[in-house]
């Protein structure tokens, strides 16, 4: 038994440390943030241990794990938006227009659900697809501006967020407003065009599974298909890709269309799964698009990394609420702590992604 163990450990423990090494840095970062936060709370006269217990409970616990469900519900749009950005980033395209694509996707899905005369069972998929198409169209507009008028994609996508947001605002404040409700929102979508809840009594809806499926599909496409290969090569070196006969123009349009359609779909899912109508600012105020962008940048354009980062951001956020409720830590302080954690993680983010191993030998010997 003992000899068996020894040989086992001898070979596998080093492998294990190799595998765990990339995790050491983010764990250290979280630890560092917790220590800094503890100091902050001691200075402001709060009990750090109680606060952290409340945070943990607030993110992952609760009666019947209600808080965990809240975390997952919040993670759904963040991961989805992160995935949208990541797909584009893989090909070297920076899509900063997630917000506009998200809003237009949500708005379109609500309008389809409200005004298209289709049978109920058909209305839900058509409404989701409508959202995706709207997001794709908005992303393609920015790509076309880049192609035809040389407006850099980064600027085009970013600036197109404003017309999208304000157009949606105008529509739900004026022509399409549900006046009776007294709010800036559309009418409620018909019953049967809602995404089902996964756990009754929580806000976690079927969209979470759809996002998870999208992450897995994206991972597979990027790693295992020819298009994924072409995307990766274009992202690493566009000149190389073009030289090899990859149609980088078509690839760019296609990638941006997919990126935008995922963003639009996320909007549709939030509208049909969470709000059941399009509410002004409901998709922009929680900063889903920007948190998703942060998750994508942090994850180094890996879809699975986005899943991890998105879950983390969501957990920190709901945990912050838990801290406010459970330990009476003021909201401002919990926000400071959240920002600290994210900042420290981001500082080491390059270690999250597979890094190149050092090669001094090559440098030394390339005469």
């Amino acid at each position: 038994m003992s000899t068996h163990r020894a040989t086992q450990d001898g070979s596998s423990s080093s492998q294990l440390t190799q595998r765990l090494r990339p995790l050491a840095a983010p764990l250290l970062a979280v630890l560092g943030a917790l220590v800094l936060g503890a100091l902050l709370m001691l200075v402001t006269g709060h009990d750090p241990l109680a606060a952290y217990r409340a945070m943990f409970e607030g993110a992952l616990g609760g009666r019947k794990l209600a808080n965990l469900m809240a975390t997952l519900a919040r993670a759904t749009p963040i991961v989805g938006m992160g995935l949208a950005i990541t797909i584009a980033l893989r090909g070297g395209y920076l899509n900063l227009g997630g917000e506009g694509q998200l809003v237009l996707g949500g708005l379109t899905s609500a309008l389809v659900a409200l005004y298209l005369p289709l049978p109920g069972w058909l209305l839900l998929p058509v409404s989701l697809v409508g959202g995706a198409v709207a997001g794709a169209a908005w992303a393609l507009l920015a790509t076309g501006l880049d192609r035809v008028f040389r407006v850099p994609l980064l600027i085009g996508t970013l600036l197109l967020n404003y017309p999208a947001r304000y157009l949606a605002s105008y529509l739900v404040n004026h022509p399409l407003r549900d006046v009776a409700s007294g709010m800036s929102q559309t009418h409620r979508v018909p019953e049967g065009v809602e995404l089902a809840y996964l756990v009754p009594g929580t806000r976690l809806h079927v969209g979470a599974l759809m996002v998870l499926a999208l992450v897995l599909v994206a991972t597979w496409v990027v790693r295992r298909t020819r298009v994924g290969y072409e995307l990766r090569m274009t992202g690493l070196n566009p000149d190389f890709a073009r030289y090899g006969g990859i149609n980088t123009v078509r690839l760019g349009f296609g990638t941006m269309a997919i990126s935008g359609s995922i963003a639009g779909l996320v909007g549709a899912m939030e509208v049909l799964g969470t709000h059941h109508r399009f509410i002004d600012n409901a998709l922009t105020a929680p900063l889903y698009a920007w948190t998703g962008l942060m998750a994508a940048l942090l994850a180094g354009s890996s879809p699975l990394g986005v899943l991890a980062a998105g879950l983390f951001f969501a957990a920190v956020h709901t945990g912050g609420f838990g801290m406010e409720r459970g330990a009476q830590v003021p909201r401002e302080l919990s926000r400071v702590l959240q920002a600290l954690m994210i900042l420290l993680i981001a500082a080491r983010s390059r270690l999250l992604t597979p890094t190149h191993r050092d090669a001094p030998a090559e440098k030394a010997s390339s005469s």
Partner: protein, 513 residues
């Protein structure tokens, strides 16, 4: 050894060891160079030449061994120490301020001063005197940005002399020079040596060693393989030391009946960014079973011509026919589909995705093959087989096809590009500077690959700045000057002409034959 007991070597290295994780780059290297000697340091890519010179220049501390100058032990903690001790280095990539004058560049860091400010007159005078003394022609008042490469190199040499260097190290100094500039450099180095300076130059070109050096030290695998007096040696002997085996005797170029036209270019015009005709009404064809060379001084339109044929640049006028089909307006993918392959000049920026694996780099051109993808899905097993087969066939030295390309030496990177382009059995291969910065062993294998394409009855267009390479491989040679083809030479007529290289050089410089 030149160093006799009466005369201490100007520079001596004893038992230098330099390790990097996993690699012994320098393994107990001994080297002694006499004052006034020109020493060549030869070796393949990765033999440890550059590491050794970096140790000598204070860039890497040695793990073991000592450095002696004029018999006195030295310890360099930085290049500043080495410069102070009298060592000067001319890097492959020049370290000059393009916007400053020659004199300002030379005196930088040790300026003659007047009232605490740079004394320009004194600087210009000192630099002119120095240039005069060692026979380096250069105008101290000229702006470096306006100078050709050969003159910039002279500025680098002047910089070391201004700092009283007694030992000059030159890292592949001829890589960027034209044949004329190369002769000029050799004259300067001989003059320096005759005035007592010690010159060490790193190279992997055998002919230069024969032309210039007194002794040659050959490194292989981090060790000194041999130190020989050049007068008693031969290129073949040096090569054997360097590669560890004989090179195949001559490139066996069997005369071959040429077939139909596989690549034809008619009145092609390519404009540069300012609208100037960088390629001006060029017409030629390459037939099945021949290698056509494109010779000329860099910047006379060869790159643009090749880019237009490859589809990376659109021509303003004219036609390109591939296997007799007009491909002028077709995509790169369509041209590749029709049988075109292309080894580009800039392998690092165009020919490879450095951060990607060797496998990812090798499958670019074959990614539509059924062995590599089925219905758009990559076949892991197929990729593994396809790439390991190429690695074996083209003798690419790597640990695994999963390794990133940026870990490979220049020669191995070029083999990756060559392997990928030849894997598709192209009808027409365009090879642009295929052996630039590549050691003899790899260059030889690439040459054989090009000849094999020709011997299989396909066509090769070879653009190269090396006249010797063009002469060794090509059946016909086109010389370009200022965007036009100014001469066409037949290999058989040049075969026994000792002035062949000079003829090409003259045409390439705009002269008449």
């Amino acid at each position: 050894m030149v160093a006799t007991s009466s005369e201490a070597p100007a520079l001596e290295l004893r038992g230098i060891v330099k390790r990097f994780p996993g690699v012994l780059a320098n393994d107990h290297i001994d080297l002694a160079v006499a004052p006034g000697e020109i020493r060549a340091l030869l070796g393949e890519n990765g033999a440890g030449k550059t590491t050794l010179m970096r140790v000598l220049y204070g860039l890497y501390p040695p793990d073991d061994g000592e450095i002696l100058l004029d018999g006195k032990a030295q310890r360099f903690r930085s290049p500043t120490d080495a410069i102070h001790a009298g060592i000067g280095m001319v890097h492959q990539h020049f370290m000059l301020f393009p916007s400053l004058t020659v004199a300002e560049n030379v005196v930088y860091g040790r300026e003659p001063q007047r009232w605490g400010l740079l004394d320009r007159t004194a600087a210009a005078r000192q630099v002119a005197e120095l240039a005069e003394r060692y026979g380096l022609q250069v105008d101290p008042a000229a702006r470096v940005a306006d100078l050709p490469v050969g003159s910039r190199q002279r500025v680098e040499i002047l910089k070391t002399l201004y700092r009283d260097a007694r030992v000059l190290i030159l890292d592949e100094p001829t890589a960027v020079l034209t044949p004329q500039e190369r002769q000029g450099l050799f004259q300067i180095l001989r003059e320096l040596a005759s005035q007592g300076k010690t010159v060490i130059f790193i190279t992997h070109k055998l002919q230069e060693v024969m032309d210039l050096a007194d002794h040659a030290t050959v490194l292989r695998g981090g060790m000194v393989e041999a130190t020989v007096a050049v007068a008693d040696s031969s290129p073949e002997a040096l090569c054997r030391h360097m590669v560890g085996r004989d090179l195949l005797p001559q490139l066996a170029k069997v005369p071959q009946a040429t077939g139909e036209s596989l690549l034809a270019v008619n009145n092609l015009v390519v404009l540069d960014n300012t609208g100037r005709r960088i390629v001006d009404q060029v017409s030629f064809e390459v037939r099945a079973g021949e290698i056509v060379g494109l010779a000329g001084v860099a910047g006379n339109g060869q790159s643009e011509l090749v880019a237009a044929i490859a589809g990376l640049r659109s021509p303003a006028a004219g036609r390109i026919l591939l296997n007799q089909d007009d491909v002028t307006a077709t995509s790169i993918a369509a041209r590749r589909q029709a049988g075109l392959a292309y080894i580009p000049e800039d392998r690092n920026r165009v020919g490879l995705a450095l951060a990607a694996s060797v496998a990812d780099n090798l499958i670019l051109t074959g990614r539509h093959n059924p062995t590599l993808t089925q219905r758009g899905v990559l076949s892991q097993a197929g990729i593994e087989r396809y790439t390991t087969d190429l690695v074996e066939r083209f003798d690419i030295k790597i640990a695994s096809v999963r390794e990133a390309v940026d870990h490979l030496s220049g020669g191995n990177r070029q083999k990756v590009v060559t392997a990928r382009e030849l894997a598709q059995e192209p009808l027409v291969l365009i090879a642009e500077q295929p052996t630039q910065g590549v050691d003899v062993g790899a260059a030889e294998s690439i040459h054989h690959n090009l000849l094999a394409v020709r011997d299989q009855g396909r066509a090769v267009l070879l653009s190269s700045a090396e006249s010797s390479e063009i002469l060794a491989l090509c059946d016909r040679i086109l010389v370009m000057f200022e965007g036009r083809i100014v001469g066409e030479l037949l290999a058989e007529e040049l075969a026994n002409d000792p002035a062949a290289e000079a003829t090409i050089g003259l045409l390439a410089a705009g002269g008449e034959v």
